[in-house]
Symmetry: C2
Subunit: 156 residues, 2 copies
């Protein structure tokens, strides 16, 4: 193999390696508050996923699991925001952030959006079968969507 | 450059790329409950870090921040465990898990360990200055350490 044929391969591999390294780097260097918010959102997604899977019959209905998922969702939605939504960590100024400036210019609206999620989750705590879980998923998904539309910016 | 000199370089780069890809892969494929626990632990670490930084004077004392961090810690420590500590996700059977089997064989002890963290956090809610935060950090750190020693296995 001649170096002229190897070079593009090598360049491609190097680019891929550097790309991966930069990706890892950017994650490692995320502002701690932004990283913590991502962890919060991941946990919200995880618990919503459990309820969704039960609603769809992909996971067996289990009263204790439904109640635990709903309670944890409510806890996550009512986390104190002072440590997480720190001023100056909005999209455009802070790597990895998709937080819109409206989070800080409209704190009451933002608080109400999280409260809507907490309420929708709490309503599911006693859902007595998969159909009852399904019936509550609309409000839950709606709360996620409404908040993301108002307060989350486009993908970075 | 001859291919005999390029080959080791290429092999090294390929190995690095594959290594990084496997690392990303293993993280992407974590059992969802294990990943959710990691998010919980990261959030616990984040909030403990805020209190620690205030205690050490690395961050200005701020009553609202201390209270929020302490309350979030207490919330995280009292999360319902049914969704997170799912049986069969212990170290050795589930990639990335460091959860010891004792979590499931000694559920009361495990619950008490998390309660100790919640209590230590709650005690810090009203800490009125950096010294008061510092005075409570021993119990907080002690709760982390005691639980890790009993219920967390060695690094994977």
């Amino acid at each position: 193999m001649r170096s002229s044929t190897l070079k593009p391969i090598l360049t491609g591999i190097l680019a891929a390696t550097i790309g991966t390294a930069l990706f890892a780097e950017s994650h490692a260097k995320l502002d701690p508050a932004v990283a913590a918010r991502h962890h919060q959102m991941q946990m919200i997604g995880y618990h919503t996923g459990i309820l969704g899977a039960i609603a769809k019959g992909e996971m067996d209905y289990d009263a204790a699991m439904v109640s635990a998922a709903a309670q944890n969702l409510a806890s996550l939605a009512t986390m104190e925001r002072a440590t997480l939504w720190i001023e100056g960590t909005e999209q455009g100024t802070t790597a990895g952030s998709r937080a819109k400036a409206e989070i800080w210019s409209d704190p009451n609206g933002f608080a109400q959006s999280f409260q809507a999620l907490a309420d929708a989750a709490t309503a599911l705590t006693d859902a007595s079968d998969a159909a009852a879980v399904g019936a509550g998923m609309g409000d839950l998904g709606g709360a996620c969507k409404a908040c993301h539309e108002k307060y989350r910016g486009p993908k970075n």
